[in-house]
Symmetry: C3
Subunit: 104 residues, 3 copies
């Protein structure tokens, strides 16, 4: 029996990991996973004023799932507001289906 | 030309890798990918009786795709039934679109 | 405020990384992330003529996001046409929601 849920994926520089994890925990995430990687991107660095190109930075990819979409939106917005005006990175939502919604 | 398909993502402790891969192969998966990572989570350890908090375990993230949703559901249910009552971990389904459905 | 977008995920042998990244850049991708992994799969090696089983190859997983679905489709088709008739690998599209569509 599968239930709809929302996954938040956060891709960010590794140095932001502990700050992002604190947001997840403050917002009540029950579990998350972190995978290392590398990346490259063009990102606005200050709210649209100017653009900076960032090459080959060391990144983390964090995934966290919520059965309540509102909580997923809040985590995504909190992370974007705190970090992604200043630092390169991205956060997005994905529709998923899970087996035990009480765990998320 | 894109075709709807279902992706199964399994996040588990690394020690479960060979057992999970065996389920994928027994269920007829034609290919999968495995990425290493690290994670943390709060998980029920025995069917809801009590909860255990697991910190900083070494994890794998396995992805496998099926053009037949029923097969994706069966793999997800088989993995969850065999491992995720006892061990921390999560399995979820995602809607995707693929180019060559005969390969999945 | 979340906006619908399309994510392209490419799973390929590591030796194809620079060629795939060139396609992404030629097709106007503004950013992507790459994560290392390992994988196994059964794949047609030459346009359906014969099948080869590939074991335990070293892979990369590339993710790139587009607010314009047509561009996501073009990248996926270009990568598949150039590489995945000859080499093992997979490309798929996923529906996502993003916060700042002007960045993708």
């Amino acid at each position: 029996m599968f239930h709809p849920a929302t996954k938040v994926t956060i891709i960010a520089e590794r140095m932001l990991q502990s700050g992002i994890v604190k947001i997840l925990e403050d917002d009540g995430a029950k579990g998350y996973t972190i995978v290392d990687g590398s990346g490259k991107g063009e990102h606005k660095s200050r709210d649209g004023d100017r653009a900076s190109v960032v090459h080959d930075f060391s990144i983390i990819r964090i995934e966290v799932m919520f059965s309540d979409r509102k909580r997923a939106e809040r985590v995504a917005e909190d992370v974007a507001a705190k970090y992604f005006r200043q630092y390169p990175g991205v956060v997005y939502l994905s529709p998923i289906e899970i087996l035990r919604p009480e765990r998320f």
